[in-house]
Amino acid sequence: MGSEVQGTQTFDKAKRAGLKFSEEAMTTVQTIISHYPDDKRKSALIPVLHIAQAEFGGWLSAETMDYVASIIKIQPIEVFEVASFYSMFHLHPVGKCVFEVCQTSSCWLMGGEDIVKYIGKKLNLKVGETTADGLFTLKVAECLGSCGTAPMLQCGASYHEKLTYEKIDKLIESYRAEGKQKNYTDLDYKNTL
């Protein structure tokens, strides 16, 4: 955001960008909205943002947020406030596979830091960076509820637990071979290697 005032017209980039949910996604969105009373559509915001993030490139652009606002029938700022609050929503482009490595107590006790370092070295990444081919992003996460199977990382819907260097090697190999965007909403998640 620059210091120049941009004028007062309503931005409707979503329309300009031609964003539209696939038919299947739209059905899911409508089902989600139906879970709440008619005048409480806003409740559907977070679940719908998950679907939007999965549908439109793995992150939430201004256009995507505009589009979601139009579907939920709320102000775009309300979407932005929420999207920026929750750690699972990415407001900047990320790689197809986002490795979120847990670093809190139990995972740290079991070597979570080593996992971060190992992935970083292997993919030549610092925390927060994405590989040049746009395939992998390395992030650290706070406790993901996998303390008894530490150390662990999450990628999309999948939990990868009791990690070792060998497991990470295999994981990276298989994801690279697939070359597919991993989303939290994926149905074909695999929680073991």
């Binding site: 806003k42 977070i46 929750y86 107590s105 079991m110 406790c143 509820g145 303390c147 008894g148 149905l187």
Partner: protein, 445 residues
């Protein structure tokens, strides 16, 4: 062998599905409640059972239910708190993943007791795949007539939906959870009013933890008095404990409350002792926010009595020499562990998870993390220990929600019991992470 009521069938093949769950006595509580009991009778049984909230606060569930306002013509809601995010806690995930119907059954029976026609399971976003498992279970329950209109031919109708969050520890706080469920930022509300009066969309609402709701099933089936016979004193029933850290057998264990801590840590039935033959150094007994205790105080109280896994025994000695049962997130640390470094991971966690609404927590959690980081960097002074103590004391009890306390207590306890470690680092101007030996090669592939 202690009694098990919640996850005794977790290894039965196919128990995730309705058919097998039903064969093993599933949905008996719904049948019993709907056919033979009034809603108030169900609440009475829960009161008699002495069941206390399993999310961490330990508030008597029956009492919480009895606070629910019941104005004519206003909808009431039951919301299940499946936002499990307290570091060290993963029992709800285990329960929902392995026996999803236990939660659905509890939701229906509890909804009947509360007169809630619609209920929501608010599950943390990271557990998306668990939400899928629950959705499948709910679909099965609808198809078999356990959910929907006129359940078992009675007047009672009930809908149950799963609502996924998106990554925010604070949404485990019940009013933040309700805000989030309303599609807003997870900012805790200022109480009063309490959710029992004005909760979801301003309607009377009960928010209960997953394990609490699942425990309603055996209470209704066997009677509250039977449940109250299990356990010790006011800590009735069983509790799921998430055991992690430097133990031989990490995992989720259902224990009868009153089990000696020593037995839990060392017996083969539970944690199986400390890994690699090391000695026990410290335990965080109830999730990251409860005070850490050194080995001698976790095994025995200050009076020298054996410490038991119960609300009262773990709380014995207050915060001077005791701790809390909390959520049952039991983190074990061996003799090589740096308490300061572990504290740093907690401080970073609370800093990351502060919602930012009120000033002591917003500013204080980040400040504490930065000061502790000085110890990790080896640049801290002795006076930084006093500074840390002062900061935490100015957060505790001054915030809108309990996250302030949750962030302050671990800092206070680490200084209280392990001050020497802080001072040693400050004097040596050097931090050596002794605990940082290569653990990874020891993990079974």
């Amino acid at each position: 062998m202690g009694k098990k009521l919640l996850i005794h069938n977790d290894k039965v093949p196919g128990i995730q599905g309705l058919a097998v769950y039903r064969q093993h006595g599933g949905y008996a509580s719904v049948e019993k409640a709907l056919k033979t009991m009034t809603p108030d009778q169900v609440t009475d049984e829960v009161k008699k059972s002495g069941l206390r909230g399993r999310g961490g606060a330990g508030f008597p569930t029956g009492l919480k239910w009895s606070f629910l306002a019941k104005p004519e013509g206003v909808a009431r809601y039951l919301v299940c708190n499946a936002d499990e995010s307290e570091p060290g806690t993963f029992k709800d995930r285990y329960l929902m993943e392995h026996i999803p119907h236990a939660l659905i059954e509890g939701m229906i029976t509890s909804s009947y007791a509360l007169g809630a026609k619609v209920s929501y399971i608010y599950i943390r976003g990271e557990y998306f795949y668990v939400a899928r498992i629950l959705e499948v279970a709910i679909k099965e329950a609808y198809e078999a007539g356990w959910l929907g209109k006129n359940i078992l031919g009675t007047d009672f109708s009930n809908d149950c939906y799963v609502h996924v969050g998106a990554g925010a520890y604070i949404c485990g706080e019940e009013t933040a959870l309700l805000e989030s469920l309303e599609g807003k930022r997870g900012n805790p509300r200022i109480k009063p009013p309490f959710p029992a009066v004005a909760g979801l969309w301003g309607c009377p609402t009960v928010v209960n933890n997953v394990e609490t709701i699942a425990a309603v099933c055996p209470i209704v089936v066997n009677g509250g008095e039977e449940y109250a016979k299990i356990g010790i004193g006011k800590s009735t029933g069983t509790k799921l404990i998430s055991a992690s850290g430097h133990i031989n057998k990490p995992g989720v264990y259902e224990i009868e409350l009153g089990l000696p801590v020593e037995e839990f840590i060392y017996s083969e039935e539970y944690c199986g002792g400390i890994r690699n033959g090391k000695k026990l150094k410290a335990v965080v007994a109830g999730g990251s926010s409860v005070p850490i205790l050194p080995a001698e105080l976790i095994l025995k109280t200050a009076k020298g009595e054996p410490r038991l896994m119960s609300y009262e025994s773990l709380g014995d000695g207050g915060f001077i020499s005791g701790t809390m049962l909390g959520s049952g997130g039991f983190i074990v640390m061996d003799e090589d562990t740096s308490i300061v470094k572990n504290l740093f991971t907690f401080a970073r966690f609370y800093h990351h998870e502060s919602c930012g609404q009120c000033s002591p927590c917003r500013e204080g959690t980040g400040w504490m993390e930065k000061v502790i980081k000085k110890f990790i960097n080896g640049t801290a002074n002795e006076s930084d220990v006093d500074l840390l103590w002062d900061i935490q004391s100015k957060i505790e009890g001054k915030t809108i929600c309990p996250l302030g306390e949750a962030a302050a207590w671990p800092v206070a306890a680490a200084i209280r019991h392990f001050k020497q470690e802080f001072l040693d680092i400050a004097r040596a101007k050097k931090f050596v992470d002794v605990s940082h030996y290569n653990r990874l090669n020891k993990v079974a592939v």
